[in-house]
């Protein structure tokens, strides 16, 4: 098994908010290897986007990393000087955002921006950058790349914009591509096409991909390994087949059971998890899922759960799972 390209080790992050702090990530450890697609699943507020932005070092000004490291090829990027980190971004690690409209500047053409994105590519003329950009647009499936180069972002459809955003992210041949909800703003038909495209590109470029999404169908379709997050922690990590066919953590089970796409027989009443996420500024003493968990015991409510290894690449953060 190859080395991890990007790894997050015991990362804890909190946001300063008026009247206290919010513990958005707590002891998160994850790794993605070359040629692998890692999915990060979970509901809103569980810290998936915070984790994605920490991986590329694009946190908000009120974020504060209290412990841990983010390592790219074994080197802790959080300890690098600002200018060095900036050089890595886009070149070694690139990101695709949920809303491609906000990822592009509205006042420049797509072509001009794709050329600009190659600013730290040394020894290449502007003309070469333009043709690299054009070729990349053709590669991501824009039928008329020359036309698209001259267009402003608002003149492209949502699907074309997301393709252009993927092209922008791949221009520098990054080692890691992070995609935060890449298909959420799109129709099912376009979602299927983007998923298909990411799969093709991954096979071609052999980069590591991290997909952050709440859509369990997209993860099943695309990922090799999945990390499920709940209230700022990774509660279960497993190869994709094992996660969907033998989920071990009670939250993973609950999440899978309430996806209407996974329920074969038509039903008027769908299962729901009930309850709500704990307040991240005032966490319960034990397991954060205990209040909503069907198998919680007194121990779960008082003692934080251990991370139980369940085999190669598998672990769950729970008192009640047996290895």
């Amino acid at each position: 098994m190859s080395e991890a390209v990007l790894s997050v080790e015991n990362l804890s992050l909190r946001y300063r908010v008026p009247g206290g702090t919010v513990a958005a990530l707590r002891n998160v450890s994850l790794a993605v290897r070359q040629g692998e697609v890692l999915g990060i699943a979970g509901e809103s507020g569980c810290g998936k986007s915070t984790l994605a932005s920490a991986m590329i070092d694009l946190m908000g000004a009120n974020a504060e990393i209290t412990s841990g490291a983010v390592c790219l090829n074994g080197c802790d990027i959080l300890s690098l000087p600002r200018a060095e980190r900036r050089r890595l971004r886009g070149r070694e690690i690139a990101m695709v955002f949920q809303d491609p409209m906000t990822a592009f500047s509205p006042v420049l053409t797509v072509g001009a921006q794709l050329v600009d994105f190659q600013f730290n590519l040394d020894g290449v003329t502007g003309r070469e950058k333009w043709s690299r950009a054009r070729d990349m647009l053709a590669r991501v499936g824009l039928s008329d790349p020359d036309l698209a180069m001259g267009r402003f972002p608002h003149e492209l459809s949502g699907g074309m914009r997301q393709r252009a955003a993927i092209a922008a992210a791949l221009l520098m041949r990054p080692a890691v591509l992070i995609a935060d909800e890449p298909t959420t703003a799109l129709d099912v038909t376009m979602e299927a096409q983007i998923v298909h495209l990411l799969r093709e590109l991954q096979a071609d470029y052999q980069c590591a991909i991290v997909i952050v999404t709440h859509h369990l169908g997209v993860i099943a379709e695309l990922c090799d390994r999945v990390a499920v997050m709940y209230a700022g922690e990774v509660v279960e990590e497993a190869p994709v087949d094992a996660l969907y066919h033998d989920p071990r953590h009670p939250y993973t089970r609950a999440l899978l059971s309430c996806d209407p796409a996974g329920i074969e027989a038509a039903t008027g009443r769908l299962p729901a998890i009930g309850g709500r996420l704990p307040d991240l500024s005032d966490l319960p003493p034990g397991c954060t899922f205990a209040a909503r968990c069907g198998i919680a015991t007194d121990r779960c409510r008082t003692v934080p759960p251990p991370c139980v290894a369940l085999g190669p690449d598998r672990s769950a953060l729970c008192h009640e799972v047996a290895p």
Binding site: G158, V188, H196, D241, A261
Partner: protein, 328 residues
């Protein structure tokens, strides 16, 4: 049984202007005919740009229609003096629940606003607000909150309470669970199902989420470029979709099971611009079964019996064999 809502050949055409008046008008809806029975849930599905929201707005009189008629409970909805009397019996749940609430109104004011709009006397606004909030499973204290203090699911519940205030017969829900997490989505759908049973509501649910429509709708109608391409009972359509577009929509939905990964794409390309409607069958540009006739002659909506109809030249061949071809 007579239909609660009957839509006959409704078209919405917008002029596009142009300096010399020569620009082609925009045909947003092209002759849509649909019926909604009392107590029924109809799911309206299609990609963005297929005219789903325009149809909802046309039904509520928020969008002038160019041709056709909409009848509600046997009465003409539009151009009629009775519109004001019909209006409180229909309600719309907006797509963006938080944005549909006024940021300067408390939840209590928002849910009782329909009474003042329609001049319905309410003895005690606070009690009425608490009653409506209880109906959607929110505590009475919620009445003093402002929209920005609500979570997505709570805002959605307030939207439901507001829609229910005047005891409507028909509720149109535009993407009722867009942007919600799966567990919250299930809670909202269950709430809508409970309210339907309790008040005998009819729903028109507009969504592009097929997984959702499969569980909540009795019948579905599929729109493509403002034209109805297939309608029928939900179960029958999911068991055997007849139109190639419906087939590819169903096949495009990612399954939450890594063992059911698709080897190939079900559908390529994007919905064409309404400014350049394809000739003949509008779906031919993306259809895997298209032949010459599809490029020249628009197909008619064919009745298949059992409440099903489909708009395709190859209705007979797009059964099992056609679907097989699409999947491989």
């Amino acid at each position: 049984m007579t239909a609660l809502l009957s839509i006959r050949d409704v078209s919405v055409v917008l002029p596009t202007g142009g300096w010399f008046g020569g620009a082609a008008p925009l045909n947003i809806l092209a002759g849509v005919t649909l019926d909604l029975m009392p107590g029924e849930t109809l799911g309206l599905v299609g990609e963005s740009g297929s005219g789903k929201t325009t149809l909802a707005r046309a039904i509520l009189g928020l969008q002038p229609i160019s041709a056709g008629r909409v009848r509600f409970d046997g009465r003409d909805l539009i151009h009629s003096a009775g519109f004001k009397a019909i209006r409180p019996r229909t309600a719309l749940m907006f797509q963006d629940a938080t944005a549909s609430l006024s940021p300067r109104m408390t939840v209590g004011d928002a849910v009782t606003e329909p009474f003042s709009i329609h001049g319905v006397a309410v003895r005690n606004h606070r009690d009425k607000a608490a009653e409506l909030l209880a109906e959607v499973g929110l505590p009475p204290e919620m009445a003093t909150r402002y929209p920005h203090e609500l979570s997505g699911g709570q805002a959605r519940r307030v939207g439901v309470a507001r829609a229910l205030a005047l005891k409507p017969a028909l509720v149109i829900a535009d993407e009722p669970t867009a942007g919600l997490d799966v567990s919250v989505q299930a809670e909202i759908l269950n709430l809508m199902a409970d309210l339907k049973d309790r008040h005998g509501l009819s729903y028109l649910i507009i969504t592009h989420n097929l997984a959702l429509v499969r569980h909540v709708a009795d019948r579905i109608a599929v729109l493509y470029l403002g034209r109805l391409v297939e309608t029928g009972p939900t179960r029958a359509i999911f068991a055997e979709p007849r139109h190639p577009y419906t087939q590819s929509l169903i096949a495009a939905e990612p399954k939450p099971d890594p063992r059911k990964r698709r080897a190939d794409l079900a559908i390529r390309g994007e919905i064409p611009s309404i400014l350049r409607r394809p000739k003949g069958c509008e779906f031919h540009t993306r259809c895997p079964l298209a032949e010459d006739i599809c490029r020249t002659t628009p197909p008619a909506l064919k009745e298949l019996g059992y409440g099903r109809s489909v708009r395709c030249h190859f209705t007979e061949t797009t059964t099992e064999g056609g679907r097989h071809e699409l999947e491989h």
